[in-house]
Amino acid sequence: MSTEIQEKEVVKIKQSESLISKRRRKILVDPLDDNNPISIQVLGICSALAVTIKLEPTIVMSISVVFVMIFSSLITSMIRNYIPVRVRIIVQLAIIATLVTLVSEFLKAFNYEMFKVLGAFVGLIITNCIILGRLEAYAMGNKPYDSVLDALGSSVGYAWIILVVAFFRELLGSGSILGWKVFEAVGWDTFPTNGLFVDSIGAFIILGLLIWAQRTRNGYIEN
């Protein structure tokens, strides 16, 4: 008898919450700035830096990560009550690996040039800590719709950071944006491109400065 009442109440709460309530908007927006996966939580740095030499592969990488993140969160959240706790990491890795294989085969079939540029780094989305971290911390304990919102927020928060890094690296390292020579178009033919930014060192420094700027803005201080 009492369980029936409880179930009814749960249903009621569900209905009363709008599709984009205040709580859900917070889930979505929080990882974009105040709780950003890269600059605040220090997750998923590896792939953030490896593919950001040019803007175009970075866009492909961002889309892949958003895709893998959303669907792995959805699947994990839907079967979360059936996953044995002891083997959950392997189950989560299997879900992620399946989706990443899908992305990698899709790229191989429709954009082989890009697949060659990204190389092993598509496969390394599996070990992107953001994905496993969000599955473990959020999708394992929450309903599918909320988990998808959380995944969308986190992956877009990841995407904008790597897009900014890629923008500066391509601009300063190759003097172009999406392959379009900006400085020649402006009439500055002798713009000195800096090889340091094509190299890994430029990525570390740009990301370091970006983190500095962002943390100064939102006042986050790490101990």
């Binding site: 220090v42 997750l43 740095i45 496969g123 390394l124 370091g208 986050y220």
Partner: protein
């Protein structure tokens, strides 16, 4: 033999996992606050990398490659299972890490105590999976794969211990608020990368 030695040196310094490929950055940044813990993680990575690289090599050559299954029967000569590569590799790594953890716990509780926490972390360390993927990409044979795994692990250990040592000293310096923690560590890593760049152009 000297070629293998050269490969170890090359993958530890010139093709350093962290400074050249950004692999294993997450644990590199997260576990580099103290030298002793960084040392433990580094040693565990060396061990796991030098074991999983040849293991995955065997799987790639005997099961996944096109026609690799022909040792079972000639009917299988046309099967190409390379699309299962990612799934197989991550499964091997995750189960190997689990296995190592169990063995160490059984036979050397003291070592397990000092290393135990880092072992499960290693399963999601990109440098392990990256090592296996690069090894396939570069067409190594099994000795080269082992040497490459060991060298890459060595490079990771070197980098993480060096960074931890710098960060221990950094506690006594005045860093701007927004730059504390991750920010200054990124800049430091950039400078360390610059130092490692001096090895480029050396031929062995």
């Amino acid at each position: 033999m000297s070629e293998l030695f050269n490969l170890v040196i090359k993958s530890a310094f010139m093709d350093n996992m962290i400074f050249a490929y950004f692999l294993g950055m997450c644990s590199f940044l997260a576990v580099s606050k103290k030298v002793s813990t960084a040392n433990g993680l580094g040693l565990a990575v060396i061990f796991v990398l030098s074991c999983t690289a040849p293991l995955n090599w065997l799987i790639q050559k005997n099961i996944l490659d096109e026609g690799a299954l022909s040792w079972i029967s000639s009917d299988f000569a046309t099967i190409d299972l390379t699309f299962l590569q990612l799934l197989m590799f991550i499964a091997v790594i995750a189960s190997f890490v689990q296995l190592v953890e169990m063995i160490i716990e059984k036979f050397s509780p003291a070592l397990y105590g000092s290393l135990g926490i880092f072992l499960p972390l290693i399963a999601v360390n990109c440098s392990i999976l990256g090592g296996s993927l690069f090894m396939v990409q570069r067409d190594f044979n099994i000795q080269e794969a082992t040497a490459f795994g060991f060298g890459s692990g060595l490079g990771f250990w070197l980098a993480i211990v060096a960074l931890a040592a710098i960060r221990e000293k950094l506690k006594y310096s005045h860093v701007p608020n927004g730059l504390k923690g991750l920010g200054i560590t990124m800049l430091l890593t950039g400078l360390m990368g610059l130092a490692f760049k001096t090895f480029i152009g050396m031929t062995l």
